[in-house]
């Protein structure tokens, strides 16, 4: 379509904003210079004709895979041509090329190469790294099996050492042990790093990583003893060839085990690694990426839903007046603005975790692991908390766009199906919540036995001891001022403390019934998850509030303060049961909270479009007809639909094949 003028509603919205969106964009990017650089890379990609293609919604899965491979090969070449090497800049580039979607080389670039760097010996790096860097070797990371995911110890693939030939014999002994899901495994890779139970000298030594060639270089045919293929269609991830891998007595040389830490000597002697905490570092890093992804995905969905709601007019608010923008309805604001506030909250949490990780990763490589357990526990919970919330939030945004949200042209279905697996991968969310709960209960136990705990759980120190029943906690009086973010942080803190204590006490009660530790844990796990959620919720409110003081521009600080208040108060109104039962807030205060939430909706309303503009998504990146920056929604929906595959012919072939004979017969 030809360039059209900006929709009048959006123009008016933008003119009425009380702050400068660019300033907020700079805060999100981490400085004006980062914004400039991001936009520079954005322009490199979106102005490059090599990266243009037909709308992916009209392509078959096989075509989408093909497009992705084509773009990935170009991407690798161009990154080197442009000399882009900073990890964050690579990440941007990739995200623009693939419009936020996964691609078949993700595992090669994101897991195979880094694992070689961190876990391979210098000799192994000589053999594998450069060929992999030059893509003569394309690798993936094969961990998950059909029968086991998050519970790694349950993996069944075996690697048995044969000292006679100095080889490992790899086997998939059961159907459940077939590797299942690794990205790029189905069709793309010719190598895989395979996680398997190591057997040497008749003993199982646990999980270890092996470099396994799977396809013939040159012909790309599977090697003898290897069965490999694509796992079939999924909810999303159409461009990714998630694969399966079955190995039958497949032999690899001893030198193919990644041996920087653990080793198997030629005679089969096993040498243990120094610390197993090292792998925590990678997990923390990947989980921090998911927190960032939660923020980005929710921000994209909010951008689409809020812009569309400013363009769409429907029904009447005042008799006789023109139809209002649907964004003027309280119910629509109530659906979208708390999500907008959540998106901002998660943006700041994501930045915080990334910075913390960066800060302590220096310590980690120096061998100082002291801060890891807390960060590990925190990222597990926050990964689950943010991905669950964003997952539900994206769906609410889609639903708020009514019927048109259901069309692929809205772009939200794609955001959802791409994002939703993050609730499962890199640690299933419930399991993650329980990991955080374990840390919380441990800290609580320390406090009860008289020790003080430090860091983010230090609020547990404030719990008065020797209480018998949880209700008595209700006696605590927190004076909550509902218009003061700092005071709301205290309220969330009190709620977290109350739920952690309740869960810990219930756990103790189960143990007193002489149940085994595991059984007692299982019978308390619903409480434990609630405690973890409350803890994470507190952390998010706290981090959002802390961010406010860093903001120098008064207008931006004002609007972010309103969002922060909305985030905190909406969270209370959705969890009134906890705050009431714990005696943190009274009935009257809850009524005030509900009232204040509605006032904030009206206060935020004039800035809503500017607040999503600040996320600064390029139209091509957003991939949504409803969320276009210029707001020309209906014209472009029609243009888009005309390109649909069913419209390729004027009269569909089904007419001649089926309809006509039917009409003739009856």
């Amino acid at each position: 379509a030809a360039a059209m003028a900006m929709n009048a509603d959006l123009r008016r919205e933008r003119a009425a904003a009380t702050f400068q969106p660019e300033l907020l964009t700079h805060i999100l990017d981490g400085g004006a210079e980062r914004t400039r650089r991001r936009k520079e890379i954005e322009a490199l990609v979106f102005n490059d004709p090599d990266f243009q293609h037909e709308d992916l919604n009209f392509l078959s899965r096989s075509q989408r895979y093909e497009q992705a491979i084509r773009k990935s090969s170009l991407m690798v070449m161009k990154l080197r041509e442009y000399g882009i090497a900073d990890p964050e800049e690579i990440f941007w580039f990739k995200s623009f090329v693939h419009r936020g979607r996964p691609e078949p080389l993700d595992l090669h670039l994101g897991m195979f190469l880094p694992t070689l760097l961190t876990q391979a010996t210098p000799e192994q790096q000589d053999r594998f790294f450069m060929p992999a860097w030059n893509l003569e070797i394309i690798g993936t990371y094969a961990q998950t099996e059909m029968g086991h995911g998050t519970h790694l110890r349950g993996l069944e693939t075996t690697a048995t050492y044969d000292p006679a030939t100095q080889e490992f014999i790899l086997n998939s002994p059961t159907v459940t042990s077939i590797k299942w899901w690794p990205g790029g495994l189905g069709k793309t890779s010719n190598h895989a790093i395979v996680l398997a139970q190591l057997y040497t000298q008749g003993q199982c030594k646990g999980l270890h990583a092996f470099i396994v060639p799977i396809r013939q270089l040159g012909t790309h045919e599977p090697l003898p003893g290897i069965t490999v293929g694509d796992i079939g269609p999924k909810f999303g991830y159409d461009e990714m060839d998630n694969g399966y891998l079955k190995m039958d007595n497949f032999r690899i040389p001893r030198e193919n085990m990644l041996m920087k830490y653990a080793q198997v000597e030629p005679d089969g002697t096993y040498v243990k690694p120094l610390s197993d905490k090292l792998t925590y570092g990678t997990m923390v890093f990947i989980r921090s990426l998911i927190v960032g992804d939660s923020a980005q995905s929710l921000s994209r969905a909010c951008t689409i839903a809020i812009r569309y709601s400013a363009v769409r007019h429907q029904s009447e608010l005042k008799p006789g007046e023109p139809e209002p923008q649907i964004l003027d309805y309280q119910t629509q604001q109530y659906k979208l603005f708390p999500l907008l506030a959540t998106a901002y909250a998660f943006q700041f949490v994501g930045a915080y975790i990334k910075n913390t990780y960066r800060r302590i990763s220096g310590d980690i490589s120096d061998g100082d692991l002291s801060e890891l357990p807390e960060l590990h526990a925190l990222t597990a919970g926050l990964k689950a908390f943010t991905s669950w919330t964003a997952n539900a939030g994206i769906e609410e945004c889609r639903m708020a766009c009514g019927g048109h949200g259901y069309s692929r042209c809205s772009g939200i279905p794609d955001i959802y199906v791409t994002f939703t697996p993050s609730c499962t991968y890199e640690g299933e969310n419930t399991v993650m919540m329980l990991q955080t709960a374990r840390f919380l209960v441990k800290s609580y136990t320390q406090v009860s036995s008289g020790q003080r705990v430090t860091g983010i759980v230090s609020y547990l120190n404030e719990l008065p001891r020797q209480r018998i029943q949880p209700q008595q906690v209700a006696a605590r009086s927190v004076t909550v001022r509902i218009s003061d973010p700092a005071s709301l942080v205290e309220a969330y803190k009190a709620r977290a403390a109350w739920l952690v204590e309740a869960a810990a006490k219930n756990l103790q009660a189960e143990l007193n019934h002489r149940r085994s530790k595991e059984d007692a844990w299982n019978r308390t796990s619903v409480d434990l998850v609630r405690a973890s959620e409350a803890h994470c919720h507190y952390v998010v409110v706290k981090l959002f509030t802390a961010k406010l003081s860093e903001i120098t521009d008064a207008a931006v600080r004002a609007v972010l303060t309103e969002l922060c208040l909305l985030y905190a108060l909406y969270g209370i109104s959705k969890n009134t049961g906890d705050f009431l039962q714990a005696g943190i807030l009274t009935d009257a205060q809850i009524t005030q909270v509900n009232q204040r939430v509605k006032e904030l909706l009206a206060i935020i309303r004039p800035n809503a479009v500017a607040l999503v503009d600040s996320f600064d998504f390029h139209d091509a990146h957003l991939g949504s007809v409803l969320g276009r920056y210029d707001g020309n929604v209906y014209e472009n929906m029609f243009e888009w639909a005309k390109k649909s595959p069913l419209n390729k012919t004027e009269v569909h072939e089904s007419f001649h094949k089926h309809l006509k004979p039917l009409q003739a017969k009856l």
Binding site: S73, L135, G232, G236, P319, Y425, N522
Partner: protein
């Protein structure tokens, strides 16, 4: 052979699965008919859905048309009729994966809104498929808010025709099923103009494609609206009209008529136009909402009994994930909800049948209540069941994400139900309007319909429960739900009143209270659903353990609702903090109790493997084998990899190292 982990679940059932099945069907005869229909459909390869996850939009559409055509033959062969008891089971057995569903809405619309003459003219050729109909209401710019539709129908006295037009882009019809590629005719809703005066939205019958070569008629632009989250088999379409003329007789005129001189005559309520929607709204709940949830529960619960992960006790075998409290807490409340909605749907169906009979006699008295009922329950059931299906999907971890699990398709399909036939928030507000009206009427001492009579019964006080077992007493929790509903309706009504008295305009006051109003409507529907579940359980046979297990499910459904909305019940102290702990304790206890019967409870839904179409949910529980075998049939494995020759090979063969 059946996976031993599933077999052991079935051996310990506390009730007769077969008896429960026939109870759900409404009698053993119904079960027999249903099974016969399912058998006939599923044994016919043309109706197979096995490959659907591998098919493109074009292939899905063609298959659906082919099935619809074949179905005519099948019905003839099986001697099934349009009015026979088999009909509802046919569509269920096809899982809706068939074309021309809107053709049926087209016919229903004519039957309801057309005069006898119109029915005689259009229904016989339509039932013979001499024409294929669609139902064009929604436009690009307007959906639920019908008064806002922009398509126009101007009466031209000189030719005795209506001139239909799409005056601007937002007025284009958008979404109607069967319209993109199949339909030859449609009922189109347009603003009627006579002598320059607008008379509101009316239905017109309009031909859009040639009956000879299927080409578009003059003045018509139509096509497919492009890919969606699901419904790939349906050609949802767009339609643009430019000075298309239809004769005066094509306006459906049972309730309103334009006479040759342009006089407009109304007979009965204008609201009657919406009765089609009311009926569609209720009829969709069973097949499009409750059945998908039952299927999702079946898949997720069977899979959770087969999948073993991690250990509950050191040294033991890995535990079934269904044994984890957190997994039970995800799935079992959804199972209870499936039963709760099944029973409320039966109740709604009866109300609707009664309403239909009354309307035939032009008695419209109960229309407002019926409308409020259908709106609120449509909103509640679709919202609740949609999120329940998503919970089932996510409870299956990574494998749930595979299309072969069947869950993504169930989810993307059910979630459309939150939007079509009325956007849920708007529907809840319609119910709220009814509740507020009844509440005011009751306060003024006027009579109100029986379903809302509870609003006038003033009961203060506190929940009398003393220990956790008290919360297994239906009176205790039903009262709590009733109390919460009354409180929310009353406080919202008061708030509205206050605002209006303080000088805020009525419509503005309404908008300021809509969040609360929607909440009040939900509380009302939740209360009615709990109450109906309780009453249904009371009427069940005590034999064969059915009443007992249904009582557990009813308790679970009710307590889950209190547990998840604790604030609503704690707010005015009706339930105390200590009582809320009792609710939680009873609720968690129930999970362990129902856990034992979880597999038999989904077996009772009696879905065949073919209808589930899921690698994870099959009756025999051979999950992994099935997943592996099915994946190998994927085109990505059976066809050569086009990307290899074109892109991968050059990549691997060292074009990069030159850089």
């Amino acid at each position: 052979s059946v996976n031993p982990d599933l077999a052991s679940e079935r051996r310990t059932a506390s009730f007769s699965v077969e008896k429960l099945t026939s109870r759900l069907d409404g009698g053993t005869e119904q079960t027999r008919i249903r099974r016969a229909v399912v058998e006939a459909i599923e044994s016919d390869p043309i109706f197979s859905r096995e490959n659907q996850y591998f098919q493109s939009q074009n292939e899905r559409y063609e298959a659906a048309v082919r099935k619809a055509v074949h179905l005519q033959r099948k019905m003839h062969e099986m001697r099934w009729t349009e009015n026979g008891p088999e009909l509802k089971y046919i569509y269920r057995a096809l899982s809706g994966d068939v074309a021309f569903l809107l053709h049926r809405v087209f016919m229903r619309c004519i039957s309801l809104l057309g005069s006898d003459k119109q029915i005689a003219k259009w229904i016989p050729p339509a039932s013979q498929y001499q024409l294929i109909g669609s139902y064009a209401q929604t436009e690009l710019g307007h959906g639920t808010y019908l008064q806002g539709l922009e398509t126009t129908a101007v009466f031209d006295i000189t030719t005795q025709e209506f001139i239909l037009n799409t005056p601007k882009i937002s007025a284009m019809k958008w979404w109607p099923g069967d319209m993109g590629r199949s339909a030859t005719h449609t009922v189109v809703f347009a603003q009627l103009y006579i002598h320059g005066q607008c008379y509101g939205v009316h239905p017109f019958i309009l031909q859009i494609r040639s009956l000879q070569d299927h080409s578009l008629c003059p003045g018509i632009t139509a096509g497919d609206i492009g890919p969606k989250m699901n419904f790939e088999h349906v050609d949802n379409g767009y339609l643009m009209l430019q000075n298309v003329r239809v004769p005066r007789e094509n306006m459906l005129n049972k309730f309103c008529e334009v006479q040759p001189d342009g006089t407009y005559i109304k007979q009965g309520s204008q609201k009657i136009n919406y009765f089609t929607m009311t009926t569609v709204r209720i009829s969709l709940i069973s097949d499009e909402v409750i059945l998908p949830l039952m299927k999702a529960c079946t898949i997720a619960i069977r899979y959770s009994a087969v999948r073993r992960q991690s250990k509950l006790k050191p040294g033991e075998q890995e535990a079934k994930i269904l044994d984890y409290q957190t997994q039970q807490e995800k799935l079992l409340p959804q199972l209870a909800a499936a039963y709760a909605f099944h029973f409320i749907n039966k109740y709604l169906q009866e109300l609707l049948d009664r309403g239909y009979r009354e309307i035939q006699t032009k008695n419209f008295d109960n229309l407002p209540e019926l409308h409020a009922f259908s709106s609120g329950f449509k909103a509640m059931a679709t919202q609740y069941c949609t999120s329940a299906v998503e919970i089932c999907l996510r409870a299956c971890g990574g494998h749930g994400y595979s299309l072969l699990s069947g869950l993504p398709s169930l989810y993307t399909k059910i979630l459309a139900s939150c939007i079509y036939e009325g956007e849920n928030t708007i529907l809840l507000l319609q119910t709220a309007r009814f509740l507020i009206k009844c509440f005011s009427a009751a306060s003024a001492g006027q009579p109100i319909p029986p379903s809302v009579i509870y609003l006038s019964a003033v009961k203060a006080g506190k929940c009398p429960a003393k220990n956790k077992l008290d919360f297994l007493n239906p009176d205790i929790y039903t009262e709590a739900y009733q109390h919460a509903a009354v409180r929310l309706v009353r406080s919202t009504a008061a708030k509205l009143q206050d605002l209006i008295q303080s000088g805020v305009k009525k419509h503005e006051a309404w908008n300021q209270c809509t969040v609360q109003l929607a909440q009040a409507a939900k509380a009302h529907c939740h209360y009615i659903t709990v109450k109906n579940f309780v009453e249904t359980v009371e009427k069940l046979d005590t034999e064969a353990g059915i009443q007992k297990i249904m009582k557990h499910l009813c308790d679970l459904f009710a307590l889950h609702g209190i547990f998840s909305n604790a604030g609503v019940f704690l707010h005015d102290g009706y339930i105390s903090g200590a009582q809320m702990d009792m609710v939680t304790a009873s609720y968690l206890d129930l999970l362990a109790v129902i856990r034992k019967d979880a597999v038999p409870l989904v077996d009772a839904f009696d879905f065949t493997d073919k209808s589930l179409n899921s690698a994870l949910g099959s009756y025999d529980g051979q999950v992994y084998q099935r997943l592996y075998e099915w994946a190998q049939k994927s085109p990505t494995n059976t066809q050569t990899n086009p990307a290899y020759e074109r892109y991968l090979k050059p990549l691997l063969h060292n074009t990069l190292s030159k850089l």
